[in-house]
Amino acid sequence: MAIYEFPWNPFDPGDPGPCIKFSVARYADDIEYGKSIGLEYLEPPIPTALIDTGSPFTIISKVLAKNCHLFLTNPRFPIRTLNGDCETEEYCGSISFPGSGLPRIPAVQILARDFYKEASYSCIIGRNILKRWDVRFDGQGRTVTIKV
């Protein structure tokens, strides 16, 4: 079992929420095949993701989705936002969590959206990933623990 514990203070008004470092890449087996035939891949960036139990899906910035060459599986995925209904792109990608010890997820559904420039994260970890984890928040200790 992998356990990752990190601090989070929800009472700090400047705190964006419980965040974790992540890395997103094209389907993992695809990359491993490419490496086996001599292709070279740049190391993916390691930005920050917000853990959000309110989001049904994992969402990354459109810029990141394009730069990481994720596998498009639906160009017109319908969503509802505070601004109304619209469509967005759905990709399949591999997500890992460097430095956490949490296991990589080799293939997962990912939506792509525009993020505010000032956002301190470029990914929202939604319930399609959280359903694989046991996530607990200790309010007194102000820590989040993820068990897989």
């Binding site: 389907y27 087996d29 695809d30 095949y33 959000d52 309110g54 989001s55 049904p56 899906f57 969402i59 596998f71 498009l72 599986t73 639906n74 160009p75 017109r76 319908p78 969503i79 509802r80 936002t81 505070l82 209904d85 967005t88 759905e90 399949c92 293939a107 997962v108 559904q109 939506l111 959206r113 399609n128």
Partner: protein
């Protein structure tokens, strides 16, 4: 049968696949409600899948990684999920 070919405009990626899905939605919803289906061009992958990830792996096995394919969950009407 719909095929990509010379003289046929392709507006955006996976448009043909989306049309095929809509053409079959009602039929599939009767027997495979809530399952995922995989379509590339005019070919529907063998099988219907409980999970998106299983559908993706089946698509990779049947179609390879050279070209994108559509993955759609089958509902009678298109659900709209709230995303902040």
């Amino acid at each position: 049968m719909i095929r990509r070919g010379v003289g046929m405009a392709v507006a955006s990626p996976l448009e043909i696949e989306l049309k095929i899905f809509e053409d079959h939605r009602r039929e599939w919803a009767q027997s495979h409600l809530g399952k995922f289906v995989v379509i590339r061009e005019d070919t529907v992958a063998k099988g219907f899948f409980d999970e998106y990830e299983d559908a993706f792996r089946a698509g990779i096995q049947q179609f390879g990684v050279e070209q994108n394919f559509l993955i759609k969950q089958i509902w009678k009407t298109e659900p709209v999920y709230f995303v902040a």
